[in-house]
Symmetry: C2
Subunit: 471 residues, 2 copies
């Protein structure tokens, strides 16, 4: 019997145990080692079987705890499909569509399902105001002095302290302050690529990153991406020798929501090290986990200095401050030079305000509250989508972060739907924005980090009705 069929056999056996209620909601599956003995197969076969179960949303992995029968194992809706690798097809990113969606960035009367902006009630506004006023009063220069090019030292120190997940692997000297995470991605791309080079991204890929790569005259290589495990490492391996960089969101991916398994992260780092390809790792959602602990970034496994690890406070404290940072590994000097020519240095004051908050603002407490609210919102939007959307809707299963990805009936064009929705002041991100190819037209990304009000609920119902009307 071939290995392929073996893992499916195990998966089928577990599925039947779940269906027969032998394994119930929340039950822990046998550990990988126990199952290996139980079924008398290789460890890899068991892993494959469990991932298969996960991809069917029957079980979910909680890092370091094992696999559990999933809360959503009774779900009606399937996971989104993995898009095949495209290479020959005509490329064309709908810039106008992206401009249109970004045009709602400062809109206050629109239900903001489109952009990853946290609801104001989730942010510690009063505390930030207090920090700001303290900092201004303290500053003799009223903030008019230039910052050092590498960035404010106080913030670098506090950001390094907060990088607990790296277990002491970086210090303030390893960090460069940027104007938000997007600016960090852009600056890293500038530092390690030249026009015409190829950069691998997930598919679907966050449109901000897609645009940045294209605007820099780089080729985008979209790697098939699984909604639970992330980028397909076998597919990546085939193109790795041709790449100048990879640019991935490994934790609570935007838009798919997955948390790349630790094993995959290790393997990814091993692969990029073998081929000496830098990895730009956008980890801005990493602290917003629904599970038991903050997942490790690839940076943790990086010995060669190839991983450029990016963080920011735009998702958790103050989007408008545009404060982010990067630990660029061995590319630090190049990143600093790029920053110098782009903008001389970062604006002053904000770095001090954020550093002050990180030191004195009980950020851990804030994050804990925020995660609880986010998880409640996720359960809410999941429930509402199942309730209102057609039964053939496919839905991602985020393990943290802000984003839900829906795959709708093939007949739906979410780009057309967008205009209709916007007339009702409902904004979402049409799937077409997430690829350079003509795909994901029947998909949409929904931000659930907004305040969940009756209007939000009814807007989602309205959106579902528009979808149903079109099938």
């Amino acid at each position: 019997m071939s290995k392929d069929v073996l893992y499916l056999k195990i998966a089928k056996s577990v599925t039947e145990q779940i269906k027969s209620d032998t394994l119930q909601l929340g039950d822990r599956l046998p550990s990988l080692r126990s199952a290996q003995k139980l079924y008398n197969v290789s460890l890899n076969t068991v892993k494959q079987a469990y991932m298969e179960l996960e991809s069917r949303s029957l079980v979910e992995s909680r890092p370091k705890y094992g696999y559990f029968v999933s809360q959503t194992s009774q779900r009606k809706l399937a996971l989104p499909s993995v898009a095949p690798m495209k290479v020959a097809e005509k490329k064309n990113t709908p810039e106008d569509l992206i401009d249109k969606v970004f045009g709602t960035i400062d809109g206050t009367d629109v239900t903001q399902f489109a952009l990853g902006i946290p609801g104001k009630s989730f942010l510690p506004l009063a505390k930030l105001k207090k920090c700001m006023i303290n900092v201004i009063k303290r500053k003799n220069d009223s903030g008019t002095d230039y910052e050092p090019v590498q960035g404010n030292e106080y913030l670098r120190r506090e950001a390094a302290k907060w990088a607990l997940v790296l277990e002491g692997k970086i210090s303030e000297d390893d960090l460069v302050i940027t104007s938000g995470a997007m600016n960090a991605v852009y600056t890293c791309l500038m530092a390690v690529t030249k026009p015409g080079d190829s950069v691998a991204v997930e598919s679907p890929v966050y449109f901000g990153v897609l645009q940045a790569i294209q605007q820099l005259g780089l080729k985008v290589v979209e790697i098939p991406t699984h909604p639970i495990c992330g980028v397909d490492l076998d597919a990546l391996k085939k193109v790795l020798p041709t790449l100048s960089a990879c640019c991935f969101v490994t934790n609570f991916n935007n838009p798919l929501g997955f948390q790349m398994p630790d094993e995959n992260k290790k393997e990814l780092v091993r692969m990029i090290t073998e081929y000496n390809v830098p990895l730009i790792e956008d980890d801005i959602y990493g602290n917003l986990y629904f599970g038991s602990e903050r997942p490790k970034p690839c940076k943790f496994y990086d010995e060669a200095g190839l991983v450029m690890w990016i963080g920011s406070v735009s998702k958790t404290l103050a989007p408008g401050y545009r404060v982010g940072w990067v630990a660029p590994g061995k590319f630090k000097e190049k990143v600093i030079r790029q920053k110098l020519v782009q903008t001389v240095c970062s604006p002053s004051l904000y770095p001090d305000v954020i550093a002050d908050f990180l030191e004195h603002g009980r950020y851990d407490h804030h994050l804990r509250m925020f995660r609880n609210k986010l998880y409640a919102n996720y359960l809410q939007i999941q429930k509402s989508v199942i309730q209102y959307f057609p039964d053939n809707t496919k839905i991602s299963e985020p393990k943290g972060g802000f984003m839900l990805w829906l795959e709708l009936d093939k007949k739906i064009c979410t780009e057309d739907l967008y205009d209709e929705a916007m007339r009702q002041k409902i904004s979402f991100a049409p799937g077409r924005m997430f690829s350079q190819y003509n795909q994901y037209q029947n998909c949409m990304r929904l931000n659930y980090a907004l305040e969940w009000t009756d209007r939000v609920e009814s807007d989602l119902e309205k959106l579902a009705k528009m979808v149903k009307k079109r099938i």
Copy 2:
């Protein structure tokens, strides 16, 4: 008699009138038309003669008033030379040197002759602090909201109002807010060029611009530049068809200090229009004139939308805020898209603070005071250079702005001198930074916008001694 000799003959005749005190300090020379009749030559010949006199520092032009026997006609020191056009020579910009000089950007114990940073006592710090606290108190979002991608509307409105010099040619809708003027230059370059393209700059050229162009994979074409009239239009004309953009500082040039004559600006605009080449016009020093009025930028003469006009408050209000703007003409949408991928949007609050200052802070009054102080500083540094530096020092004649350019004895290498000076906490900008070629080693740029204290005076004397020691 050839035309060449004619203009020299006229120049000689005027020189003798000055030497014999027939024409005295402050006297107005005959107008161009009168002189044309007087000498019975073409208008161009008279112009050439007067420019020759200007280049010898015997007369100075005051736009719209004519030519006057110069305050400095008794000067001992000559104008810096015009460097010939180089093309074949080996290129190499000393990035390490630039990093070293920029490394002093946040230094407080260094006498800052190197970077164009205004002394703190020249800035309205208390007023800015007040504006900042008002803005924060007013904001319900504590500044956490995103700004529109094009930039804060209040600031665009106020910046448009302040563009009086354009006589109503731009409105708030024509402006895009950037992270300081350097970021505007960078963004404009990204918008109108692709790697491998050629961009013309003055020579010597501000090293920030030089680095930005090179980091973007563009070719730098250094155009010979006269210390009084600016870029040599004949030399420019020869390469114009090969260019993707020009990038000039037309008013109170950095580093040479000239104010390009109106006639040259008109001709420059005519030329770029003929060849459809965008002009990135960095006009950040424009409001800091020593003469009778704010000079026009090239933008004023631009009908085709080819001039991208850049302003900021980094030189006059708050360097650390990183607030600038650009009126990108017909490239507006491209510039906005570049901004989006670089950094999503500008940081919040600062634009409101600056807009509030522009509206209520008596900016005109502040500028008037600042100009007076700057002019006093210029006279001071000029006097001190003449007093302390060797007699063969050549010195520029800025008509406004922050910068003095010195050309020293050929034996002097200012790059070596820099290290010696920095050991004594004296920073200046070595000439080598201002070209991609191996030139200007015997030059230096001095910022005189710092507070003129006894220490500054004695540091300048120290610097002069180091120079003398090396001859």
